[in-house]
């Protein structure tokens, strides 16, 4: 991407980006956004994010979920997180970083074949809890782990 295009996009960030995609004749953005839980990803707090994806922000803590993340993350832009659960019939696993500007990080939709674990790398704006929410057998469960961040990875 060259600098001119960045300048062109200034001010009209969101609409500009969509217009470019449409203009380039790529996949229709509407099609993409249809399945993607936009309101949940734009929610500014944990309960908003949870209500957005699960319709409830109540998820009792479960010992059957393990959140594996470092105690201290030197670089908030790359925090390895692993979520493991021994619950059966896992429908989805979501990762939430409590104090990020938009806390919802990702939602992984499992199928009957998927084993109950997932690992990825996330960005964290500041020290906070990483919350894993697991939906299994139609019920919500959660677990959390505190991660101290030395350098935040969300702004600049």
């Amino acid at each position: 991407m060259n600098m001119k295009r960045r300048v062109f996009l200034k001010g009209t960030m969101a609409s500009g980006a969509v217009a470019v995609a449409v203009g380039a004749g790529l996949l229709s953005p509407r099609q993409v956004l249809a399945a993607w839980p936009k309101s949940a990803f734009e929610a500014k707090d944990v309960s908003g994010a949870m209500n957005g994806i699960y319709g409830s922000d109540l998820a009792p803590a479960s010992k059957d979920i393990e959140v594996d993340a470092p105690d201290i993350a030197e670089n908030g832009a790359v925090v390895p997180v692993k979520v493991k659960t021994s619950l059966s019939n896992v429908e989805s696993i979501s990762i939430i970083s409590e104090k990020n500007p938009t806390p919802l990080v990702a939602k992984f939709n499992m199928t009957g074949k998927t084993e109950g674990h997932i690992s990825t790398r996330i960005k964290m704006g500041q020290s906070s809890n990483v919350i894993a929410v697991v939906k299994a057998d139609g019920k919500l469960y959660s677990a959390r782990k505190e991660v101290k961040v030395t350098i935040g990875g969300c702004g600049g």
């Binding site: 993607w36 997932i118 990825t120 790398r121 996330i122 600049g156």
Partner: protein
């Protein structure tokens, strides 16, 4: 578009273990261009779809807080050597890519 996806899918103890790396900036829309002081537009992967022999085994919805050049690992059952595993992604600008490998 150049290949953006690297996948390793391997059978281990009857379970297929998938490890993948995607090359993508995962721009949050909150970072500022230091020269102009303007915000850099958000550009991030929203959907990831994983298929085994054409059947979906896992899909993921991602936000901006997945790190740049995302790493994803998970495993699934019911696969055997030589089966195909396909991973595809779509980002908020409508760009996409997919890659297919034979399970080892």
């Amino acid at each position: 578009m150049a290949k953006t996806i690297k996948i390793r899918a391997r059978i281990k103890g009857g379970v297929c273990e998938v490890k993948s790396l995607i090359k993508h900036p995962m721009e949050t829309g909150q970072r500022k261009n230091k020269k102009t002081g303007k915000k850099i537009p958000a550009h991030f992967i929203q959907e990831v779809n994983c298929e085994h022999n054409g059947n979906s085994v896992m899909t993921a919805d991602w936000g901006t807080a997945i790190s740049a050049n995302p790493y994803l690992s998970f495993s699934f059952t019911g696969a055997k050597k030589g089966d195909t595993f396909k991973l595809s992604w779509v980002d908020n600008k409508g760009e996409s890519d997919s890659a297919e490998v034979a399970i080892k």
